[in-house]
């Protein structure tokens, strides 16, 4: 007994020491390794997860998604319809000592929009034509037309140090202005950052962060359970009961079904409305996502997005009404082809099959066609013959209606199935309206119009789920960024 007691005490001491030694360390398991640590080059989720902590942007967002000045001293001002003036914060230095100033901003903007640089992020910035230095802390940006989305775009553009970014090792040794600075990258294994002791903003609490790259969700879960990780991304809904803490927050992803408004049985607006009334969205959220999804309110936007119309609510689940509408449209027994894919998005196949069952129950014949992703994309992008109903999951990183609406709502968009000129005009107008209030009201009209015309069967807004260890406090963000400066390790 005595020996056992000593052993226990010894173990306890070792554990206490270990806990003390990495009291403010956090390990985060993400799904994929960054392909580069150059923050302006690729469109790469792994790269973003790490660099969001090293680099900063002129505009930032609160955890709830509201745009606030970041490296900008105040909100940029529009001095003519195509020119924005940005005042910069003073006294900020990059991790290597280079000053943050107008030269750094001008350099960063010109670097990313340079066609020769060939950035994969260019679609976020293709309206920006030029950047000019006014004085050491003032910059003007020129756009090719009025660009109301510029502030959102600036929230995506990371500012790089002019000198160090010319270094050939820049993509492996990132240097930013952010709360964490780069220490080490063991390819295939991990990336380590430490707290920037000279950070200009609120001092972060976590002193050291390590990123691990674990593709397999079950392995991420095991690592969290074994105490190796503090935060794991994309926790599967069915695992949420097993982890110390599962935090969930309404994310950027919307599964939706595009209905063909120009042909087939779905040409009749009553049929399209019926296909909305027929689906029990609450049951889908509960049954397939264990409650970690919310019913989309009749629009391809999350509440945090610019343009969200709070007055529009989801079509309620009403199979009787759906049956009546189908009868009135003479579409009882009509065949509707529903196109989907499997294994690309969380629960993609399950959603398609559940919706098909709901549709069948009100009297249409749903022909489910699940394609391999490439073939599925052929159908989604086919502009000549549109499928009756195409399932897709849309994601929108800029938190602004423009991207989703241009792609799926607007006639001729890459995934749209309507030729509604009025809707297209609204979307075009919103794109160049620089008065925020007016622009918002245009989107509200567009949301309402698409809702009344039932151009889609709106389904859900999926929540991002993270597994979190008991020792870390963190509550997640609507923009899905994992900012270590917002974390706290419990004593």
């Amino acid at each position: 007994m005595k020996i056992r007691g000593k052993l226990l005490l010894g173990c306890f001491l070792v554990m206490a020491l270990a806990a003390f030694a990495n009291a403010q360390d956090v390990t985060i398991a993400i799904g994929s390794e960054p392909t580069t640590l150059d923050p302006q080059l690729r469109e790469d989720g792994g790269e973003r997860a790490v660099n969001d902590n090293i680099y900063e942007t002129l505009m930032a967002r609160t955890p709830k998604g509201q745009l606030i000045p970041g490296l900008a001293a105040s909100e940029p001002r529009l001095i003519d319809p195509q020119t924005w003036e940005i005042k910069l914060r003073s006294g900020i230095k990059f991790h290597n000592g280079e000053p943050f100033n107008a030269d750094a901003v001008v350099f960063s903007v010109k670097r990313i929009i340079n066609p020769k640089f060939n950035s994969e992020q260019i679609s976020f910035f293709n309206t920006i034509q030029d950047a000019q230095k006014v004085d050491n802390l003032t910059v003007r940006l020129k756009t090719d037309g009025p660009d109301p989305i510029l502030l959102s775009r600036l929230y995506w553009m990371k500012i790089v140090p002019p000198k160090h970014s010319m270094d050939s090792k820049f993509a492996e040794k990132p240097v930013g202005t952010g709360p964490y600075r780069f220490v080490q990258w063991d390819r295939g294994e991990s990336i380590t950052l430490v707290r920037n002791s000279n950070y200009w903003g609120t001092k972060p609490l976590v002193s050291r962060v390590k990123y691990r790259f674990i593709e397999e969700p079950g392995t991420r879960l095991a690592g969290l359970m074994a105490g190796e990780f503090d935060i794991i991304t994309n926790l599967l809904p069915e695992f949420t009961q097993q982890v110390p803490k599962a935090i969930h927050i309404l994310g950027l992803e919307h599964p939706i079904i595009i209905l063909n408004a120009d042909g087939g049985p779905t040409k009749d607006v009553r049929v399209r409305q019926a296909l909305n009334y027929a689906v029990d969205k609450d049951a889908l959220a509960e049954g397939l996502f264990e409650g970690f999804a919310q019913v989309a309110q009749g629009q391809l936007l999350s509440p945090s997005f610019f343009g969200y119309n709070p007055k529009v609510k989801a079509y309620p689940y009403n199979p009787d009404k759906a049956k009546q509408l189908l009868k009135a449209a003479g579409a009882v027994g009509a065949t509707v082809e529903l196109i989907g894919t499997a294994g690309r998005w969380l629960k993609d196949r399950e959603l398609v099959e559940a919706v098909a069952a709901y549709w069948d129950a009100v009297g249409v014949k749903t022909k489910v066609r699940i394609f391999e992703f490439n073939e599925y994309l052929n159908r989604l992008f086919d502009r000549k013959t549109r499928g009756d109903a195409i399932f897709v999951v849309s994601s929108n990183e800029l938190l602004d209606a423009d991207k989703s609406f241009s792609a799926y709502y607007k006639a001729g968009g890459i995934g749209s199935s309507n030729t509604d000129k009025q809707l297209a005009t609204l979307i075009d107008n919103a794109r160049s309206e620089t008065d925020f209030a007016k622009r918002k009201s245009i989107y509200h009209q567009a949301v309402k119009r698409a809702f009344d015309q039932a151009y889609f069967t709106w389904l859900l807004n999926i929540e991002d789920i993270y597994g979190v260890s008991a020792r870390v406090d963190w509550s997640g963000r609507v923009d899905a960024k994992i900012l270590v400066s917002e974390m706290k390790v419990k004593k």
């Binding site: 994929s32 390794e33 392909t35 580069t36 080059l41 690729r42 469109e43 060939n118 679609s123 063991d186 390819r187 295939g188 294994e189 991990s190 691990r212 790259f213 674990i214 593709e215 397999e216 079950g218 392995t219 095991a222 690592g223 359970m225 074994a226 105490g227 190796e228 391999e372 992703f373 490439n374 994309l377 052929n378 989604l380 992008f381 897709v392 849309s394 994601s395 991207k403 989703s404 241009s406 792609a407 799926y408 890459i414 995934g415």
Partner: protein
């Protein structure tokens, strides 16, 4: 012997070329990296520009001729996903897969010989039956499940070993065991059955009658004659480990080797990287086959005539 190996090498080169051509055709038939790599909402203009940038807008024959030139120079170009030379990635990942394979196959081989012999000494006895029983379990258990089971037991519950990664020696134990067990099961069965065959041969009885010690009869004479099928299986399992098991085991244990990279390249439709991986694995398979042929002649000199 030299001419024989030369002939085998020639066969190998034909096989490698065949495989690379098939990969070229198949990836271009079923896949379109442009569609998969760009965000869904990318416009048609952006797609066209990207296709041009990748050089995938050119006629397939032009691409093929260039591709064959690349193969000859062992330069497949930059990975579409990682934007660095595909062969650089292969050379970075391959050693990890080879280490894992060596540990897995080595462990299986070393353990299978004594276990198989013990089982063969008394066919139908307790040790034989329990060996066969455990081997059958090892054969039937899916490897990814076995890996997860190990993680749950030894990492999550007992905290003895880490769940994933490559940081220390301890990190290789679980993936190594997961790699080894199904191989061990198959090897034990084959050692057992060939030993049973050999031990019933007359020369064994003669050996005993002459007074040669038991260990020498079993361990030297019988084992040497029984080792041909064992060697065949070891070679075959090594190939399967590099080209198959590694995909599962590396995924489960986040072991950043060639198998995990292959899966990632397929998911991202990275044709270039995939070609480089398949080519390298094909070369390895051919090399292992030639090594096996040489090993045969060492085990059984009569085969040298062939």
């Amino acid at each position: 012997m030299g001419r024989y190996i030369l002939r085998r090498l020639l066969h190998g080169i034909i096989v490698i070329f065949g495989v690379t051509i098939i990969v070229f055709v198949v990836t271009r038939m079923v896949g379109d990296p442009v569609k998969v790599m760009l965000p869904l909402e990318a416009t048609l203009e952006q797609r066209a520009a990207f296709e041009k940038q990748l050089g995938l807008d050119r006629p397939i024959m032009v691409q093929f001729v260039e591709f064959m030139g690349d193969v000859a120079r062992l330069d497949f170009g930059d990975s579409l996903w990682q934007h660095r030379p595909a062969m650089e990635i292969v050379f970075e990942k391959l050693p990890l897969t080879l280490v894992l394979t060596a540990v897995g196959i080595g462990l299986a081989f070393v353990l299978s010989i004594p276990l198989g012999i013990i089982a063969a000494l008394r066919p139908g006895g307790v040790s034989d039956r329990s060996t066969v029983f455990v081997s059958l379990i090892g054969l039937s258990v899916p490897q990814f499940w076995l890996g997860l089971l190990f993680i749950v037991v030894f990492a999550v519950q007992l905290h003895w070993l880490p769940t994933s990664g490559t940081a220390t020696i301890a990190h290789i134990i679980l993936p190594g065991l997961t790699m080894a067990l199904p191989v061990l099961a198959r090897l034990v069965m084959i050692v057992r059955s060939s030993m049973i065959d050999e031990l019933n041969q007359q020369y064994v009885q003669t050996g005993y009658a002459k007074g040669i010690p038991f260990l020498r009869v079993v361990g030297l004479h019988a084992l040497r004659n029984a080792s041909l099928p064992v060697a065949t299986l070891v070679g075959w399992e090594t190939i399967r480990a590099i080209a198959g098991y590694s995909v599962v085991v590396e995924t489960v244990f986040a072991w950043p080797g060639l198998g995990l990279t292959a899966i990632q390249a397929i998911e991202r439709e990275d044709l270039i990287l995939l070609q480089a991986i398949v080519f390298s694995v094909a070369v390895l398979v051919v090399m292992i086959n030639i090594l096996m042929d040489i090993a045969y002649t060492l085990i059984d000199p009569r085969l040298r005539l062939a």
